[in-house]
Symmetry: D2
Subunit: 355 residues, 4 copies
């Protein structure tokens, strides 16, 4: 309350808090009175205490999300992607490489990229069928044809498919082809889309918005989880800052931070943060070292002729460097490769990660 | 090109530019070579010059939008909102106040807010039927019921209705009730939604995203215009910065800047930028003085009991201050009130604003 | 405290608070305990509560400054610049134009700029003798020669001199010539320099740092005031954001905000925020409308040949537009021109502004 | 040039470029003309092309620094800190841990911290004698007494001393005690201070300003180098963004980026970026993996009673984790520990690192 707040203003604040079923604790000081509030967070958000007379500051001290809060579960979660008893884990104890072309351009290009991805250690294939493009009038993806190509490539390679959906009306269609639905950074607060994927039973890859605080990102995840789908993997891909040397500023502190605040797995996309090929491998290494549960990487069999973002797709020497980092660094941090259930010596323990 | 770039790298760059039908102008210096490119912007965006050997920097020198570019029209545009020969203009020469409740809560509250709005000089009524809310689990609007209430209040007051649409599937429904469709800040790059409103024939109020540069905002407008709907009013509502004393940082330089870059009208929403009632009137005055074509203001008959954002709705003394600013300042800058066509002494000239 | 914090952690926190002479108020909730602290702000800052076991969040609810806090004085302050009974006020009730060349280049150029400034309504002359330049190796000012030129031009025109100081070792010298000492944005947290000007008896113009929150800006002012010099005028000049269309983003909400938080006057420099001439007049109008106590403007008799920042200096038609705004807008907001004491009909009341 | 620029405007631009001894290359397109300029960067910065008629955009394509530019030297540089033939390298091929207390509080605390630092692998001791503190009125360091303590602790432990200087007047004094002079983030553009340390012959640790782009950071280094001191180590410590969960956002892309742009070594301070202890080790690991040449870490023998920033000092289990990362990760990236010259098997090769 402001200094010199009259008793009736204080009483009105206390009354409003109590009317919402919460408790108010009043701390009176020489020049200032503090009112502590303990109650249900979402009802509190609807109290408009900020506008009441003599109220100067309203500060939240608990996190505005519950289902995705780490306090809801002692252990961090594993999200399984795929089907048929050969699902691939994303979460603690393992390290998952998701790689593929930014956009599906043709069957041959997608298969070529998938083979590069698998060769680098990927068990999940990314590939865009619907491309939200800032620049108006350019290539926006092959749509349903791309979905079919992705399904064929899954058949051919055993890699599960992660692909972006941008229109709520397409969610059922995309979910019928893909193994994991990606929500892009520009759609992190697209509530119609979040609502739609929240009612699906396919796992979600939720990218952080360029403008989103960690709290807002977790609130978007909560919004999805409230609709019944808790199989969410978060993806840090950089935030917008004043620095223009890179497309976005990768916020790697968000990795350990999210792992303390939430039980959800979190992976990193260094490709779109860097926006230039020569910075991707160092950022990928840094993401692994910061504790990421996986990486999302653009690869392309012919980057110079890519239709979308070719300047940031890996191939050749750089892809080999990435593969080497993905092989060597995670074990130093106590992580095994994220192989499909039933594969590899570590498979028995994959179901019960303990970190 | 990087210093010491070999001739074959330069030749490859020139060849790629020419293969896209553009012209390359090579400027050779002692340690560096610059290649100027003149060609169609959208095709150029698809050239991935940035990834080619010896290419160090790719800089754009022309704007990546055409239909909304001021070079496309000498005069700035007027967007007319409403129907029946009594449309209200938004654009040069006039000043338009758009006011109303953040969310439609009930018929009585909406009518009360509309009367406050009209009393303050508004000719357009804003009111939310669908509320995208960051905080999960809180009031999200009355939906179709709110649309009916807005239509009834239009009937009762003569104010045309501006309301937000958040799901592409709702665009037809919302357009059947509203006079202007608002795209909120979180949806500025929701391409499915932009596509849908771009195919409607109702005018659009396009808010700037919290993370969006002026160029990206105009590219979003271009995306809408490319689909056939050029009746777009831009709305500056603050960008996200490190300053947390306000909800967002209102970027008033964007007003004269947009008016130089584009022919589209531009209005300002100081309410959501400030996020606190006591800063709204000074920011509203500043927006008028910066040359805004109008204002978007939250008003509420009972702000303390508002369900959404009551802490920033105007009423009472502050609303009177706002009304006074809206009456006095625009005329000093050569603007008349934006009355419906056919009303007021200035009506004859409204059709051909010349500024 | 974190949920499940053991009683001994709570006891340790309370003990540390009390050991610093403050009061701790404990609010126990079902899953969380809040400890309110009431005590002396600067001693509290030295308690490292944030690092104690089970402490999850430490939030400040009162402002970390006292001398410059508006609560310290009911009225807003007027700072008087100049001497000999002909001082010029900066503060509530008046509007002060400070104008002149970015850098003093020669006696003729400075006198020319001063005459332009006076013609536009300025009563204070700005001009740089020492120029902190981001770009290494370029013109950095004439130093002491510039100070002499400024003093001569003061003699010739009656305009008092505002000039920047960048080295603590130069403060005495600069103060012996100038009427007001400017601290530039890059030096807002240069504590050696703040210490030095805090021990001078000349008024200070304290620019906001590009990275500084309003709170940090007021803390820098407090730092100066603690050393004995409370004659401080704040100057908003834009903050650094992701938007690159302008040099900085002018934060006009800071004007009414600072006027609520502090009793110090606050002026606006639109020139360096815009970084381009065509946006300066609209931003200057907006600053006046937002309630600024004055403006700081670059003028130059020959902008095209200016050694520093010529692209943003006003002259000709744009300067006339600015002069017209400075004449017409402040009276609408209850402000008179800031004439020297003893000049003009309003002079008697200048000593006791009441707003 | 703007579309439709008249020939005389183009001629004026070309004339001005040529008058500065540079070459202008004119590329004429259908609606736009581009003028390429090849010439000396610092003279170009003084051309105010931006303000000339019909000039719409001025873009720099080469970097505005020379001495610190990687093009000036094929190899990356090693900066040696210390004396007596036992200097410690900072640069490619080795990894240097700089650790110590944020502020020197007493001889015992400093010695205790130094022993912790040495135990963790540090060969350089950091410790603040002069503390620039945002919050006015709090502990600002012991000054000269702290310098003496640091010298004594160097004697006792063999660790060389890195300490911050904030006043140009103190540079000689500080240089007489310290082995490396630190320029803090708030002083990155304090040109009086940069000038003073640029004339010293002690190596410099130049922290990136919270608001500084990579280019501006390198320009500050260039400013120092122009004064004769090229022994500069850059230190990334986070930039200011909208995210408030951490004190600053660590920009790890800056590490590989700076190593491509400049030959100077670059280290990372995760402590002040995180602002909370539990994120420091993951960020330190990420910094190593991103390719940093070293780390700057706060350690304290009794963090809970530290006078400054105790909440972010490492000790106990977390310090052991850091030590383990510093031992294990750099060798995977081809780096040896940065031991004093003459120590260890690798010492012979330390003088000629080749990466």
């Amino acid at each position: 309350m402001s200094p010199g707040a009259p008793p009736e203003h204080l009483a009105a604040v206390v009354a409003r808090i109590e009317s919402a079923g919460a408790k108010a604790f009043v701390s009176r000081g020489l020049d200032r009175t503090i009112v502590g509030v303990i109650g249900d967070g979402s009802r509190m958000a609807e109290l408009t205490l900020a506008g009441m007379p003599s109220v100067t500051t309203v500060l939240r001290v608990s996190e505005p999300y519950k289902l995705v809060n780490r306090q809801a579960r002692t252990d961090r979660s594993v999200v399984w992607v795929g089907s048929g008893g050969r699902e691939v884990p994303v979460g603690p104890g393992t390290f998952t490489l998701i790689a593929g072309p930014c956009a599906v351009e043709s069957a041959a290009q997608t298969l070529g990229a998938a083979r590069l991805a698998a060769g680098a250690g990927a068990t999940l294939l990314r590939g865009g069928a619907y491309k939200p493009r800032t620049f108006p009038g350019v290539f926006q993806g092959l749509g349903k044809d791309a979905l079919r190509i992705l399904a064929d490539v899954r058949e051919a390679t055993g890699l599960y498919v992660v692909t972006e959906v941008i229109d709520p009306a397409d969610v059922d269609l995309v979910a019928s082809y893909a193994d994991m639905l990606q929500i892009g950074a520009t759609n992190m607060q697209n509530y119609a889309l979040l609502d739609s994927v929240g009612r699906q039973n396919k796992p979600i890859l939720l990218k952080r918005g360029l403008q989103a605080s960690v709290d807002e990102w977790l609130m978007a995840a909560e919004y999805v989880a409230q609709r019944g789908n808790c199989e969410i993997v978060l993806c840090e891909r950089g935030i917008r800052t004043f620095e223009t040397a890179t497309s976005a500023t990768l916020d790697l502190a968000a990795i350990p931070l999210v792992q303390r605040l939430s039980h959800l797995p979190v992976v990193v996309d260094p490709t779109h943060a860097a926006g230039r090929r020569d910075l991707i491998v160092p950022l990928a290494r840094a993401a692994i070292a910061a504790g990421a549960d996986g990486l999302l990487i653009d690869v392309h069999p012919d980057p110079e002729n890519a239709l979308v973002d070719g300047a940031q797709a890996l191939a050749g020497a750089e892809l080999r460097e990435l593969a080497s980092a993905v092989r060597q660094l995670p074990p130093m941090l106590g992580r095994r490769p994220a192989l499909p259930r039933g594969e590899g010596a570590g498979s028995v323990r994959l179901g019960s990660p303990s970190s």
